[in-house]
Symmetry: C2
Subunit: 734 residues, 2 copies
């Protein structure tokens, strides 16, 4: 930002910006100036079109990737400044590709289900074509007709055919890869006015033109199931009706670009389709869904296969924010995201955002709790997000996942949850075992541990029964089922509930998890309350992990550490776990305290005789050091056929090593009791150090909001209406 | 800063600041306003003086600690605003202490070698008295004489006696604890005009008045060795002539406060002592030494027993910066530190800093390379700091430690090094196993693992022979010896050298380590070059660990991971280590690549037949989860009696998960060869991917700058003058 600003000032002083450019609002002007500096620098270098050879992260991969960016930027500069040197640069670059493209064989690595020509996978070729189509559009009218014909015939049409009819297994799925393929083919078709390509992009290759042995790269859902393909099918089938993307926000962020770019192009060139309103404005809903799936620091929830650290403030999300603002309702809270992003798209959307920002229209981005449905029809479970705000306005965010499998990138993590606050992750989702675009780590592809660890149930904060992953770790089973939302209550805000049921994660077992965020003046941050009921009819071993982030401070139980560590199991992720310590819970509650990023956390769990706490850490069977050694603990209960787990998690206090004063290092919940737990009702009593007491009731079999309930516990009768009920009472301090 | 600024504006608007106050320069005014808001809030609460009971981090500890701060702040506000309500508050608070102090027994915890009355250790009582003496000074003239007499007789004189003649084992050492004691007794003596106390503070308790069985808390150096005690002895014996504090910067930061506070008071009230000029201005040199021992992010090097995260920007360091500026030469680069600190001392020093800042006098703080001597006479080794700046001005800092033992807080880490850059730690010093002031972790005291792990040689980046710590891990041996600086060359800046020799870490073995930072346009960041010669006359096992920060990316050797982990040894720190993997180096060099905080690192090591690389991690025999699971690798060589280790460490490239593009993920050093290595000379050849080659020569037996050397290698003759020599040649790219 600062650098860009400075560059802009320098450029203005040097008279390098036209008068019109300096009339742009500051953020647009800075973005333009920064792009100009970078592009001019790139244009001073020779434009290289090396013969493809390397995997992601390698030399030829990175050069071709940089090329699409430079071409797109140069074309945008031509559009905005009218300087022909930019148009000529783009033309020459494209001609250089045209010179060699048809002679290139498929990429020599041959490691993808759909090997590209420029890159190791068609996906990256499609990325290239999406962005370069935009560049081509910008200079199309300026080009000599003969050059246009040459490029159309020798580069773009062959490339579009390669990415579609020559690779139907890539093009004709309902999948984010295919969306890129559809958009690439469609966008270049729109530029070239090639209706056949546009039609192919919108509707896919007709089934009868497909080879019989069409194969996918994984066992995920493929085109043949629905019989549909193409961009409109992606719009219909990739998102739930409220915009949730079944692979999760990391992939949504990636997948959204072709949706938005092709969507905008269609909105301009094919108004007859009214694409922005398609499916009740699904593109706008998808943008909202993306922006609402980030933690208070802006990092996306790392659901399913997600590399951590991807953020609302990543360059790729600029388009989502700007198009969301410009095309869908001018929500002023999006402007504050744009402000932190510090850059805008170099088009009318970015100009609108920069203009509104300069006009002081930004409002704070303070997202609310929301439950997203999953599945094209919105009937395949979903993801519930509770957001609570503490006394100091710091946010606490709980994410419960009861979604469908999420195709090939899905994890076996039914009813798992993760927790975030303003310091970042508190209880983490492991995310993916992958280093995107880092050559040393498998060329950036998924690592073997992604399958063997990251996808397994035990890598998540959810119940594992008999050391077996949900759906037996089999995607074919996982794709047949999904949990269902039981209740989602955020009215009133001080007590918010998300509750879901899985009937199929384990055959013959019903899992019902309910989680609350309780906001109360006596608590510095919202209290997380967890009630996990597991019903079945055969004895089982239950293990409920908590993958906390931080350093263990203390527990209230005696445990024994192991000085020789061996893998805990042979499969379902347990082959990667070392058991560092175990202890018997000999009281009615077990507590574990840890220190995170400057804050303390205390988890209190209801325990039964025989319960054990296992302290675990991944690292076994990790021959390439691909796994993070992050700690976890599991509450283990052996024997019953049905069992219920209840816990609360407090966030409290602070510690800064520059000051070395521990504020509130201990939690304040002194009692936790499961007063009642049966098929109809559960009742929890939570006691605070200062005497305050909360009684929390949940109706286990009827979530209806208008249903009246009555319950007697220890001779005391309670009545309420709706799925849950809270009674707060303050006793004298004990 | 922002909050303070806002408060100040609000207070000004509300007319709560007098005209004079609003005339102060902004930073002083903001600090004053912030202090006023906090103090007024504190004064609205009841002033509690609870009967002492808790350890550090516990309730009574924290209340009494807050009290000294509130009293000092209120008194300063009286001094600066003249508002009597502040003076009255301080008076009443002191009277409340006077009411109970003499009746308090020593603290019930009885866990210190010198148990306090207000706190668990005399040290904290002395902290209290140092700060409260300042407060007492501020209101002394305002008090009724009768109140003065009461406080002098019933609170302060008894407290001063308790901290000195009743606890000589605390008061009469040369140690940072005693400095606090000396300052406390001396400062209250200056306020009360009690010459006996001042004399006791300056010169200690005469030896003939001491009990015969005086005992210390550890085996560190005590008073009896030198026969001297008191503040002047601390000034003479705590620092080397250039201001280095033998316990390291973490303790210097802590110890400096009483030096500076008592020093300033003496400068005002006892000008005859000319304390600021004492020992050639040792207080100013100590301030400089503190500020120069921090990494590019401002964190102090965690040498010896140091809790990580303590920083130039910690509140405690404000005084060092402001007094350093005001009392010693008005160095404008200190102003830029004050600016980041965002606060100043509420006295003439802070006012001078704030005034200079407001006058635009600040200059960048860009420290140079420096070698500090250790020991009161400066002849007990030291610490060498090399700072190099890369193409983008980012700093790389190498710290080699060849100091004396550092008393009870010293580690067995002779010739160890650590490396830092603008992202933080690259090759880490483990620091202390301790959580200062966190009750759950042993009440904030040192944890058992501090002795068994953090102090041991293997926890550091230095050579371990036969799995035994330096000096056999025995402080009594360690205190008898120290390594010596061999050479320190920073002239020219592009090649900087620190080199030191230890003759006593292992009996009969001479260790000689030389490390360079090489700055070259072909390298993005300075290259670290390491040459470690170990000479002895009996077969040995050499292990040289590198405690890197980050995630292992790749190596060039085949290694086998262990899926069952057992402790590597029984003592000297090896009992805490798990061996995760080992591999035979079967080439002439071994490389290990890792990814740190956004940057890649590649270490290339010269290897010999039979060399092994061990991948290790602490975590064994850690019953309370006190150790961090940070990774390390060791180059292991078994057999020879003498051996030399040569390595280079490159910093390169970048990766940001928001962008997912790996820039320069691979290092560029393709060759490393030890061409010659004997008692007189070593010669290293380092080859860069682009063909550049460096030949580096070191004279091993004569470091004189004017000595002429001549050497023939493979028929080629080389001549140079001085301890080392570099020949750079550029070959055609291979």
């Amino acid at each position: 930002m600062t650098l860009r600003h400075l560059l802009c000032i320098l450029l203005c002083l040097a008279g390098l910006l036209t008068h019109a450019q300096t009339d742009y609002p500051p953020l647009f002007q800075q973005t333009l100036a920064g792009t100009q500096v970078q592009t001019d620098l790139a244009m001073e270098q020779a434009f290289l079109v090396p013969t493809p050879k390397d995997m992601a992260g390698g030399y030829t991969h990175e050069v071709h990737k940089q090329n699409w960016k430079t071409l797109a930027d140069a074309a945008a500069l031509y559009r905005l400044t009218g300087e022909e040197r930019y148009a000529a640069f783009v033309r020459d670059g494209l001609l250089a590709y045209a010179e060699v493209y048809r002679d290139w064989p498929t990429h020599p690595t041959a490691r993808s289900y759909a090997t590209g020509k420029i890159f190791w996978q068609c996906l990256n070729d499609a990325n290239w074509l999406v962005y370069v189509s935009g560049a081509y559009q910008d200079i199309y009218d300026w080009l000599d007709p003969a050059v246009r014909t040459k490029l159309n015939d020798e580069l773009f049409r062959p490339m579009a055919d390669f990415l579609s009819i020559e690779n139907p297994q890539f093009f004709n799925r309902v999948h984010n890869h295919s969306t890129w393929g559809n958009a690439a083919v469609g966008m270049i078709g729109l530029v070239m006015d090639d209706d056949e390509l546009v039609q192919r992009a919108l509707y896919g290759i007709p089934t009868d033109e497909l080879p019989a042995d069409l194969r996918d790269d994984d066992s995920g859902k493929i085109m043949s199931e629905t019989g549909r393909a193409g961009f409109l099918a992606q719009l219909d089938l990739s998102f739930s009706p409220d915009g949730y993307f079944t692979e999760g926000p990391y992939y949504l962020r990636y997948a959204l670009s072709p949706f938005l770019l092709f969507g905008r192009a269609l909105a301009e060139k094919r108004p007859d389709l009214d694409i922005l309103a398609y499916r009740d404005g699904i593109l706008g809903k998808a943008i909202d869904a993306l922006l609402l799936q980030a933690d208070p620091r802006g990092d996306f929830f790392p659901l399913n296969d997600s590399q951590k650290g991807m953020s609302l403030y990543a360059p790729e999300v600029v388009k989502a924010v700007d198009y969301g603002y410009y095309l869908y309702g001018q929500d002023p809270s999006l402007l504050s995201l744009a402000e932190v992003q510090g850059t805008v798209t170099l088009d009318t959307a970015g100009l609108a955002v920069a203009t509104a920002l300069a006009g002081g229209k930004a409002r704070p981005f303070r997202p609310k709790s929301i439950a997203f449905t999953d599945g094209p029809e919105g009937d395949e479970g979903g993801v519930g997000i509770l957001r609570g705000y503490g006394a100091d306005s710091a946010a606490t965010v709980l994410v419960m996942k009861y979604s469908a499998q999420g195709m090939g990138h899905g994890h076996f993590d039914k009813l798992s949850y993760s927790l975030y606050d303003d310091t970042g992750e508190v209880v983490q989702d492991y995310g993916a075992a992958r280093w995107v675009n880092i050559d040393q780590k498998g060329g950036g592809r998924y690592l073997p541990e992604n399958q063997s660890w990251a996808k397994q149930s035990v890598a998540h904060n959810t119940l594992v029964i008999d050391r077996t992953s949900h759906y037996d770790g089999d995607i074919r089973i996982g794709e047949r089922y999904h949990p269902d939302l039981y209740a989602f209550v955020t009215a009133g805000d001080s007590l918010q509930l998300v509750s879901a049921v899985s009937e199929h994660a384990y055959p013959g077992r019903r899992l019902h998890r309910s989680q609350w965020l309780l906001t109360d003046p006596v608590l510095a941050h919202p209290l997380m309350i967890d009630l996990f009921r597991a019903q079945g009819d055969s004895a089982a071993v239950f293990e409920l992990p908590t993958w906390y982030r931080g350093q263990l401070m203390a527990t209230n139980l005696d445990y024994t550490t192991n000085d020789t560590l061996a893998p805990m199991g042979a499969d379902h992720g347990y082959q990667h776990l070392f058991l560092e310590a175990r202890g018997k819970a000999d009281t009615t509650t077990a507590t574990v305290q840890w220190f995170g990023q400057g804050r303390f956390y205390t988890q209190t769990m209801v325990t039964e005789a025989g319960d054990e706490l296992l302290f675990v850490r991944p690292g076994a069977n990790d021959p390439e050091f691909n796994l993070r050694r992050d700690p976890g603990f599991m509450l283990r209960r052996e024997g019953p056929s049905s069992s219920t787990f209840a816990a609360v998690l407090e966030s409290h206090g602070s510690y800064n090593p520059r000051v070395e004063v521990a504020g509130d290092p201990y939690g304040s919940i002194t009692g936790l009791e499961l007063l009642l737990d049966n098929a109809d009702y559960s009742a929890l009593r939570i006691t605070h150090r200062l005497g305050k007491e909360w009684l929390l009731f949940l109706a286990n079999s009827d979530p209806a909001a208008d249903r009246e309930h009555e319950l007697t516990i220890n001779g005391q009768s309670y009545q309420w209406r709706g799925v849950h009920h809270l009674i707060t009472s303050a006793h004298a301090s004990k």
